[in-house]
Every structure is written in C-alpha cells, then in structure tokens.
Symmetry: C2
Subunit: 419 residues, 2 copies
Amino acid sequence: MNIQQYMADVGRQARAASRAMARATSGEKNAALGAIAAALRAHRSAILDANQRDLARGRDNGLEPALLDRLELTPARFDGMVEGLEQVVALADPVGAITDLNFRPSGIQVGKMRVPLGVIGIIYESRPNVTIDAAALCLKSGNAAILRGGSEAIDSNQAIAECLRAGLREAGLPDTAVQVIETTDRAAVGELISHPEFVDVIVPRGGKGLIERISAEARVPVIKHLDGNCHVYIDADADPAKALKVAYNAKTQRYGTCNTLETLLVHAGIAERVLPELADQYRQAGVELRGCERVRKLLGDQVAEATEADWEEEYLAPVLAIRMVDDLDQAMDHIHRYSSGHTESIITENYSHARRFLAEVDSSSVMVNASTRFADGFEYGLGAEIGISTDKLHARGPVGLEGLTSQKWVVFGDGHVRQ
Amino acid sequence: MNIQQYMADVGRQARAASRAMARATSGEKNAALGAIAAALRAHRSAILDANQRDLARGRDNGLEPALLDRLELTPARFDGMVEGLEQVVALADPVGAITDLNFRPSGIQVGKMRVPLGVIGIIYESRPNVTIDAAALCLKSGNAAILRGGSEAIDSNQAIAECLRAGLREAGLPDTAVQVIETTDRAAVGELISHPEFVDVIVPRGGKGLIERISAEARVPVIKHLDGNCHVYIDADADPAKALKVAYNAKTQRYGTCNTLETLLVHAGIAERVLPELADQYRQAGVELRGCERVRKLLGDQVAEATEADWEEEYLAPVLAIRMVDDLDQAMDHIHRYSSGHTESIITENYSHARRFLAEVDSSSVMVNASTRFADGFEYGLGAEIGISTDKLHARGPVGLEGLTSQKWVVFGDGHVRQ
C-alpha cells in the first residue's frame, strides 16, 4: 500500500463528504447516529470477536495489562458505548444557529452563524470506544472525520467502521463522512497531520508525549489536551469544613484523571487548623504526601520532602505535593509558574480573594469552593466531550460539539452598497 | 547584538507584563491609551521628523513609490492615527465578561469568562500607523504585545515606541506591555514565531507571501489573513436593479482591498438582462473584463478570454473575471473550488436559494443582496480590526478586540465535591 496515495484518497473523500455533512439536517444526522447504533447492536458478537482477536494478539505481543484493559470491549462496555452514541442524538445541534444579528447604521443586518469546521482528524490510542465517541461527536457537529486509532485495536476498529459506514448509508449520507484508517503503518499519522488542504484540525487523544510530538510536527492546527497539573489553594479565610471536603475529593475521587488535584497550596494562617486532619484522611486513603519544609515541620516526618520535580509533576497516582504559602499572591505565583493551565480552585469565604483568583489565574477552568474533579464536559453540561483543551486559542477546557464548530459572518441586505 | 538573547529578554518581559495587563482595569487601560495619545501629540514633530528620515533612507534605497506612500506619516495621517487610538478608548472592554452562567444538577454554577490571550506578536510591513493600531487593540484587550514593523519604518516606530512606553508608565502599567523590536535584523522574526513560552499568537499583516512563510515556519499559532478572492453570484431570481448596484459597488468602490469582488458569477437565465448594462458601467469605470466563452459570446470581443488563472487570482486591480453558470449548484461549486474563503454574496429574491447559499458557502462572510465591500470590522460594528482572518479556528472574518481574547470556564461552588 502506498501510504501517501492512500491518505490523499482518504483526505479527498473526507473533504468531499464534509460538504454533504455541512448541509445535512439535524434529522439526517440523528438518523445516521441511530442507524449506526442499530448496526452496532446487530453486529455485537462480530465486534466482540474482533476485539478478542486484538486482545489475543496484544497478549502475544506482551502488551501491558493497563493497555490490554483499555483495549478490551467487555459486553458491558460495548453496551455503554452504544448508549453513549444514542445520547449524542439527544444533544442540540449547534450548526446553523445565528447569533448577535443586528442592524448596522449602513442598513445591513450582520450576525454570526455556527458552522462545522470541515474535516477533523483524530489520533488516539488503542481504545475502540473512542472510535464511536469521536465519530458521534464529529457527525453531530456536521463534520467529516478521519480516525486513526492505535494499531493494537485494528480489528475492533475495522469492525466498528463497517457499522459506521452502514449507518451513514442508511441515512442517505456519504459513507466516507467517517473514515477509519485501515493501515497500522505509522506513516499514516505523518500524512494525516501534514495536509491542511484535506484536514482542518487535528485532535490527538493520548499521552503527553504523543500530543507534544504531533503538535511539533503538525502542519494542521491541533486542539491539544496536555497534562493536568491541577491546584487547590486553601486561603486563610477558607471555611475549614469546605477545605477538607474539597481538597480530599479533588485528590481521591479518582487518581488517574487529568482534573485530579496534584499540588495543594495552603495559607500559613490556616495550615494548623486544616492540614493535620486532612493529612490523616489522605493517609487513610493511601495517598503519599510530599511537602515543603514548613509542611513537614507541621506534619512530621511521615511527609516526604517535596523537590522541584514534585511541583512540576502530574502524578496521576495517589501522591500529593503540599506547599505552605504566606498569601494569595504567593499561591498564584506558584500556580503561574507550575500549573499546566488545566484547572485550579481556591477555597475561601473572602469575596475579594475569590474575585482576584478568578480574574488572575490563567487556566482553562478556575473555581471557587469546588472540586477540580468537576472540570469535565458532562459536569459542565456539554453532554459529551472529545477532550479538554489546554490551549487558549479556539477551544479551551472541555471541548464538546461547539468546540468542533466555527462561526462565519452572515450579512443580509436589500441591495445595500458601501458608500 | 545577540538576537536570540535580545528576543528572549523581550519575550520574558512581555510574558511578565501580560500578567499585569490581564488584571488591569478598564480605567487603567483607557488611561494608558489616553496618555499615549497625549504623548504622541506632544511629540508630533519629533515623530514626523523621524518619519522623514525613514522616507529619505527609503528613497536612497530605491523603495517603490507605493511603499514610500505607505511609509509616510503626513500630518493628516498622524492626526487620524491619534484619533483612531482615542476611538479605541470608547470601545467596550471585552475582558472579564461572564456569559452562560448556569446552575448544573450537581449544584455548581458554571460559566465562561472572557480573558486576554496573553502575549500577541504582530509582524507587519513598513506602515507606522499599524504600530499604533496594533498597540491600542492589544492594550485594550488586556494583552501584552511585541511589535515587529518593517525595517524601513524603524525610526518612526522607535519614536512612536517612546510615546507608548511613556503613556503606559503614566497609567501605572508596565512599559514592557508593548515592545517595539529595536533591530531590523530579520532573525528577530524567526525568534518571535518560535517560542510558545513567550508568545501566544502571531498576527502577521502584509502580503500573502509573508503570511504563508510565517504560517509555514511558526511554532506559535497564527491568525492568518490570506487573500480575498471574493465572488458575487447573480441568481436567476435576482432583482436586476440590486444586481447592477451591488456588483458594480463590490468591484469599483475600491480596487486594492481584500473584500473587493474579483469574479462575478451570473446565472444564464438572467445574463442577457444584466450583463450588457453592467459591462458598460464597468468599462466606463475603466475595469477590464475577462469572461468565459458564454460571457464573451454575449458581450462580444471587448471581453478578454478568462483562463484558469483568472478564476484563481485576487487582482487587487480594475480587472474582473466573469463566468456564466446554469444554476446555484454550479455557482457554489465554482466558489468552493476557487474562493479563498473570504467573502461571497448572492443576489437573489429567492428565499430557498438565499438560505442554501448562506448555509453551504464556507467563507468567513456570506451575504445576501449586499456588497462584499461591507466585510470589515468597522462595518460589522467591531469598532476596529487587527485584520480579517481566513482561518476557521479561533477567529474568523474581521478580528476585533474579542478575537484577541479567549474564554476560560469559571465554576462557583459552596464546598461542592464530585460524587
């Protein structure tokens, strides 16, 4: 297979399909999603069989247990995946909405219409459920999609791809509107990210290394989801009960997610009142603590010494760094220096401190008296998300259907000309 | 001068200043703009003298008359430039606006807050007025700016830069919030576009070649303003009077602007009724016509033969390509193939055709019965613009203050944790 030729064909087909998708009605797009769900259910055993082949090959190739787990489609996961697809049917269609339509002094009426981006390329790991999630969000937002999943999931993905094509055809939409790359050749990724004439935006989903590499090499804009080195700052004027509750939840509710707390900042004036109890709770949950000198002085030797690397790290594990600070500015300076710009929360009853933290902390989500774990498309009401952007341009924070669209200006006149 | 070191210093200072700018109040920012205007007025003759030195050097170096014209600050232009700066004071400050603030089932309250992008790098030609325009828009939107103007304007720009610094200091803002690069070394541009740690977005203003080169090499996101190959389509159901008025205005009101009509598409069913009269008007205005075979058959040999290159070209001159089409789909296919995605307009009284054209034409501005010349930040009510984006991501069409900002999610809780 000539990869360049193959990817150019895929790209051209996607570009052509994107025009049909852009004018598809909400009814047609929903019909396609429904038909895809039906096709997936009808081919359930074939897809699970394909997944078993992927798993067997993965085991033979010595794939790590964590990766095998992500690769696996259990019957329950399969059903959840199809239900997720059907939930996208219920989401409002963002395409075509016209906002800010106003008359100008010249007499023209100017507004903005929400429109699809065009062709979205998604590069992800060996998680077959992402194939469905990504396809559903791209279709609903009127885009064409080119999906490149991890090579270990190739059989699962191809089995799912057949259902995608069948559902699209049944709804009268081009079955090239979602294309799943049929080769495991890595050169396909290089091609996918190099042709702005075929692809409007790349959404990489995976580890930081993958995303940094793609961002560095891409000739197409990238919506990045980098790491989540999230902070909670317990202000001097915090309500201790809220501080305990939020700081505990933000760290322990789930360890492996990007919105999990990684460094806790505590004002020196409240440290004695909250830290010992909080440290007990963390220890009972099995969280390893690493503190600055002042924190260790307060909590004793059970707390390991935090080094510069601890302030920088996204643990994604039951480990927490803790630092004592003297005021809000020191807390914000720490965040400014070490945060990855994902999510930060202040715990305070002080009106002015809350306002300053909200205004001055430059992260995709900034919270007051709430757990960082809320930074999520479902919790924010987007219905679904394709990722959480740590970029500032275009889409920031959880990216749902709207993040996969753009706006164009529309002008209504009546023979108006410029003077 | 070590360019790398110099640009890293500039970058670090800009990044530091961006934090102060992000928290600056509207009052402080407006005070700085006012103080800059006063400083410019106070140093009027020094700036005009510096501009005379640039002009003299330009003439010695054989600069083309058109470039010398753009470089020149006549007293009238100078005054217009300062007035433009003062108009930015009157614009609403986009920063801090919170929208879509709603309670979620979990009890948290989620919204979006508009925030500055951070540091904006602007690369432009030898037009000293752009130094003021760009500085004013970046300051008002709470950003720090690094300005790199054309080397021919170096003396003018440095004289203006002194006033920028003085005005910022007077308002109590860091005078590094707007930095004008002090070297004409081209390596400075390479540095400016290569450091995402210092610069959040690059806005190149200039010819297509400059913008394509910067886009290809930049490691920082670029808001692009490429060419404007704009179309007007006269539908079979057009009101002939409106068609004549709009098509004439779109071509002749100004020739050198990006929103000027470059290819006119005319439905075969109305061509005889509008084209001969329109062609007469164009000819009287001195516009050279180049047509497809059917247009030449109708209008005669005075119309030159249009080649493939004519459909692709942005003339920026009194030249117009004309093509006859058989229906709306043919017109949209032509636009899809040749348009640069800037601005297209349909002239029609047909409701369904207007709706289809609006929905399906994928350009930054899509119009019905209005001249393409309206595609402009002032006409759209943005107050001012830093350029017109032909990108789909982040900012599309005229880019005003809002295009120089981003949004972050804000969450208000009361000790809320995720279950």
